[in-house]
Symmetry: C2
Subunit: 283 residues, 2 copies
């Protein structure tokens, strides 16, 4: 953990803003369709298939349907679970209408909008705290830093291109759930583990003449480095999502972008600075 104040801010910020949003909608626009960007990280890494938000449980000869069990691997993800529980309470009790998008780690920088004007480019995090792994590896490759695989690198997640984040939100906004429904969709297009991503970035870099090395660092997090992972993603496909695949072309585009801005890369932000496995490092 970083420390008490950071952890408390994470908790209070997340639950309070979701709570305030819920009440604002109840007061002023009770029929509004709330689209929430949640995270696939709420599910953690269970040893059974991850469904889209819900699971039917048969137990001792009886059946019921429940929110799919959630146990995230960080406090941040735990507060996202709080958000889900809050939304589900207000949906089932007071009839709000919600789509909760359980999004995987996003990569990429370009969308159809950004090609119209560079000022529409999104924020691009590559640091150890906010940076997602594909973006980080691309920057590390360009900066000549061995790719920072944590531990064995068998950590598997569902990933998506930022183009598909936007495509998904548009599809969801254009296809409302039923009034009073809490629709939960898993938002990702492909599953990879960290070693596979490192290898793809290495190959894409090599073909551009960049020498890329891969390092296995001591893992600063508490997480399984080898585990089962199979998440459903039918919902957005049924709404019409056309996946943007993580091809060598996509990686070349990102590597070229990082090379163009190479002089801006702050190398002190690459290596892990927080040991999440130590609760009290800053106390």
């Amino acid at each position: 953990m970083k420390g008490f104040e950071e952890a408390k801010l994470t908790l209070i910020n997340n639950v309070t803003s979701t709570f305030n949003l819920i009440w604002a909608v109840m007061r002023h626009a009770p029929n509004a369709h709330i689209i929430k960007l949640g995270t696939l990280g709420e599910y953690g890494t269970p040893n059974i298939d991850i469904e889209e938000g819900w699971i039917d449980i048969e137990h001792k000869g009886r059946k019921d349907r429940f929110l799919y069990p959630r146990q995230g691997s960080s406090l941040y993800h735990t507060t996202k679970i709080h958000d889900t529980d809050l939304l589900w309470f207000y949906v089932r009790t007071y009839g709000l209408t919600v789509t909760d998008l359980m999004q995987g780690p996003v990569y990429g920088v370009f969308t159809s909008e950004t090609q119209e004007h560079p000022e529409l480019l999104p924020w691009f995090d590559y640091d150890d705290i906010y940076g997602t792994v594909v973006n980080r590896f691309v920057v590390q490759a360009v900066a000549g830093i061995p790719l920072t695989v944590y531990g064995k690198g068998g950590q598997t997640r569902g990933f998506l291109n930022i183009r598909d984040t936007l495509q998904s939100i548009i599809l969801v906004a254009e296809n409302r759930p039923k009034p009073g429904q809490m629709r939960i969709l898993n938002q990702f297009t492909e599953q990879f583990n960290i070693v596979e991503i490192a290898e793809m970035v290495k190959e894409a870099g090599t073909s551009l003449g960049i020498e890329v090395k891969v390092a296995h660092l001591e893992n600063p997090r508490i997480e399984l480095e080898e585990h089962y992972y199979k998440a459903a993603d039918d919902g957005l496909t049924e709404l019409g999502l056309k996946p943007t695949i993580l091809t060598e072309h996509v990686l070349h585009e990102m590597l070229a972008y990082a090379q163009k801005h190479q002089h801006l890369i702050d190398k002190t932000l690459i290596m892990p600075r927080v040991r999440w496995s130590h609760a009290l490092q800053h106390v």
Copy 2:
């Protein structure tokens, strides 16, 4: 709901105080055994048997163990779910040691301590917000108010005498879980529905010469009035809990206590003042 400010206070108070406690223990007493009074209300009224905190799920040929799914019937219960998720995150990640007691509605006023001195008597709520149903019915019987059954009165819960609340906490404190374990125990001794409780109070009152009527009011809450309910309670029995049963003698003791203090009963606190089924009554 009462209103935005009351709801926000409920949310922030509960999650912040659990969070602060967790960090205080991590900093100053990481091996302490945290005993938390949770509530059976976290589970809601599922259509499958309620286990003690955990459930083994078999799904598409694979298995894993999860927190038993929780969906409480009020914001208060939802914040208790938040507490459970927070504790479970810090237990599995940083090795805290916790017993979470999922307590049902408590009734009664006397314990072995209170018989030593009347100043040791606990608070006795009989109002519409904080009062639990057995205590409320006893006061209503003495005050000559028909017992306030909400709707059909088939709402079933697990109940316990205040003597068994204390007995349970003592047993749990004397029997620590393993270090780094999150032990969850359901804390109740008997299941009743509301009509059964009303009938028991009526019979006990009648045998003392009190005329008791039963009324079915429009339900101010959103809850199932007829449902399956079967909760496990083996854990505390195994630790040695000797249940105090809700006998006519126990009800006579409570009725006599209410009669003794009859002049203190505020009849304006009996009927439901908050329509929980209306989200925005005070907005």
